[in-house]
């Protein structure tokens, strides 16, 4: 019989140890796994969404990634953190999906939150200093996602993980199973490409 999952009590601020949750989930404790899903769902979903630019695809792939991770928990040796391991599963699933979907992509973009209109950086981008003065945030969002989809999957992934998700080069190298130099060069090349695609929307320095 699996131990009951040690859920986070609202009165006790100390978060439950991730390793304990993983151990319990490995024994088949779905409540423990539910806690792990809650912890990482936003980051996993966001990564997949930014890779696909499609909410429905991101939803399906994120669910499948968590299910696959649960199935494969017995093979998780703990060499890396659960988070990195989970990320790897989601990323591989997404890249395989994108390879199959090639030339059949269509965007299904999420709405922008309220804060976007008040973000000073974004406001500056659509200000009168931008070549495309008429560009609204929605148009900018569409152009940005379109430009992202033009990148190859590995280049798009480094941009998503570093510039959108804020992961370090080291973490990205672990997730992508490559060295840091490769991550850096891919990031540089991807940024150059994006800069070319979005030159009309970038503020001149």
């Amino acid at each position: 019989m699996a131990e009951p999952a040690a859920r986070q009590d609202p009165e006790s601020p100390a978060p439950v140890d991730e390793e304990a949750l993983v151990r319990q989930a490995r024994r088949g404790d779905l409540e423990a796994y539910d806690e792990l899903v809650r912890r990482y769902q936003e980051r996993i979903y966001a990564t997949i969404y930014h890779m696909t630019s499609n909410h429905e695809d991101a939803n399906d792939l994120a669910q499948e990634s968590f299910i696959k991770a649960f199935q494969a928990l017995k093979t998780f040796k703990g060499g890396s953190s659960f988070y990195t391991w989970l990320y790897r599963i989601a990323v591989n699933k997404t890249i395989n999906f994108l390879k199959q979907r090639k030339n059949r992509s269509h965007m299904s973009l999420n709405d922008l939150d309220f804060n976007a209109e008040h973000d000073p950086d974004l406001v500056a981008l659509i200000s009168d200093k931008t070549p495309r003065r008429e560009a609204g945030l929605a148009e900018l969002q569409e152009k940005l996602n379109g430009a992202m989809l033009k990148l190859s999957e590995p280049h798009r992934l480094v941009v998503v993980l570093h510039d959108v998700q804020g992961l370090s080069h080291d973490e990205i190298a672990k997730i992508m199973d490559c060295n840091i130099g490769t991550v850096r060069s891919r990031l540089f090349y991807a940024r150059q490409q994006l800069q070319g695609y979005l030159s009309d929307y970038l503020r001149p320095t």
Binding site: L30, Y33, V37, I67, N110, D121, L198
Partner: protein
């Protein structure tokens, strides 16, 4: 280099827009429930033997991804079918097959001999003869009132029935 970095800085600011893209309200409340429901439904416990083999999935996925594969596969199937039909229609092919079948089943010659008596038309050789059932060895009444040449009228007299 500095200019390039500045340009990238501008790009990074633009990329920050993506952080403001959010899924529909309540999405993350339902998400764990959906995952758990799928796990409880036993999706995680599908044995590998029952699930479709990975090579088969890859095979179909290749078709899905590249329509050219589908058309070339369909063309090759059609060609194979045509070749089969043409080969079956060739007379030398049927002769060869009759030789092979005769070698395989020597009792067929008896069937040929018997059936030649019952029918005036030349019997087809090869597979058609070989697939005749053994029951055809027995004399069969002819249609339309014609008498079977081997059939003889039988007068049956039972004792005490005079």
């Amino acid at each position: 280099m500095n200019e390039s970095e500045n340009n990238f800085e501008s790009l990074r600011r633009l990329l920050a827009l993506k952080r403001h893209e959010i899924p529909p309200p309540g999405y993350f409340n339902n998400f764990p429930r959906q995952v758990m429901a799928r796990l409880r439904a036993g999706e995680a416990d599908v044995p590998q033997a029952i699930a479709a083999p990975s090579w088969l999935l890859k095979f179909f996925q290749a078709f899905e991804a590249k329509p050219a594969y589908v058309s070339s596969f369909a063309c090759s199937l059609c060609l194979l079918l045509l070749f089969g039909i043409v080969y079956a229609e060739r007379p030398d092919a049927t002769e060869k097959s009759s030789i092979f079948s005769a070698l395989a089943a020597p009792t067929v010659s008896l069937v040929d001999a018997k059936s030649a008596v019952y029918s005036s038309s030349p019997q087809p050789t090869g597979l058609m003869v070989n697939t005749n059932p053994v029951l055809s060895l027995e004399p069969v009444a002819m249609l339309f009132g014609q008498q079977n040449p081997l059939a003889q009228p039988v007068s049956l007299s039972l004792p005490g029935n005079n």
